[in-house]
Symmetry: C2
Subunit: 212 residues, 2 copies
Amino acid sequence: MNIPNLQIALDNNNLEDALLCLQEIAEYVDIIEAGTILCLNEGMKAVKYIKTLYPDKILLADTKCADAGKTVANNCKLAGADWMTVICSATLPTMKAAFDIMSDLQVELYGDWTFEHAKSWYDLGIRQVVYHQSRDSLLSGGSWGEKDLNKIEKLIDMGFKVSVTGGLDYDKIDLFRNLDVYTFIVGRGLREADNPAEEAAKWKKRLEEIWG
Amino acid sequence: MNIPNLQIALDNNNLEDALLCLQEIAEYVDIIEAGTILCLNEGMKAVKYIKTLYPDKILLADTKCADAGKTVANNCKLAGADWMTVICSATLPTMKAAFDIMSDLQVELYGDWTFEHAKSWYDLGIRQVVYHQSRDSLLSGGSWGEKDLNKIEKLIDMGFKVSVTGGLDYDKIDLFRNLDVYTFIVGRGLREADNPAEEAAKWKKRLEEIWG
């Protein structure tokens, strides 16, 4: 198995906070995500600033695009994003329009998506999906379990690179140890740590220990 | 039946173009939508400017929120939005979190939503849904048909206020004449008209003729 990537989800309300976070931890992460909250609040300016300051990192614009795939992808690309996200309930033409423009695309799995849907994305050439525990579901008491791990394994077996996200902190990494996870996406687990740089370094070390 | 509202979808790439459009047609529309494309490009600044300049219009932030409902709704409200949208594949806790904050909420119907899902939104207290022809589907040759009208009628019968959108121009209004449509959402049909103000006035007149 490969060592999973570490992705910081910058779901900050403003660009200053996002940049402050990056100043501390950018060196430890492989992928920087301009979160939906950040994009909706600051616009593509956020993506532009981040790409300018961290040109060597993969930059993902978490647009959760549902429509107008071509326009949204063009705007993301123009701002400097390498990848973007689409929501699983977007139509295939929307996904294709975005996929044709970006260097890579992630489908965000929310709600009642099916493996049949996943097959249709795969047939389009899409290879990345994001498996979620919704932030709001977690707030309502949900948590990671066997059911999630089985679905992730099935997606990996289909040929997808699977990123996992939602309420992930250091203590949960081991849950995934038998899976070829592509990327761990961590937001508050890093941003709100007492010492974000130390926490990110600890994550990287543990990922190498388990998957290395 | 009530006279349907007319909503302008400001899916502009930048705020200047959106404000220029409003300067011409705001007087004819009931609801102003800060489109997803505009919000993602300009951030909540777009919502703030529009609410400042047009405080008496209902302002909808088309966030198509999929997660973090509380944060996104708080940010929209702070910027001056009256309503916001959530994507149909958002979890119920996400919808509830947003609905608790905004004065009203619209669920955007994309992909394989079901009437069972719609019932669960209704049970949360949500009364607005947006029935779409996806922009990208339209570009791939899709169009409005009997199947759409039947689904819209069923949603209205369930008690929803249904907005319709997607490739709507003046010539398509009559298709809906037997339905108690709550709002017609028009984007390029108004923004890209030779004379947007005249086109919007023509829309209003026709809505009054049919539904008045």
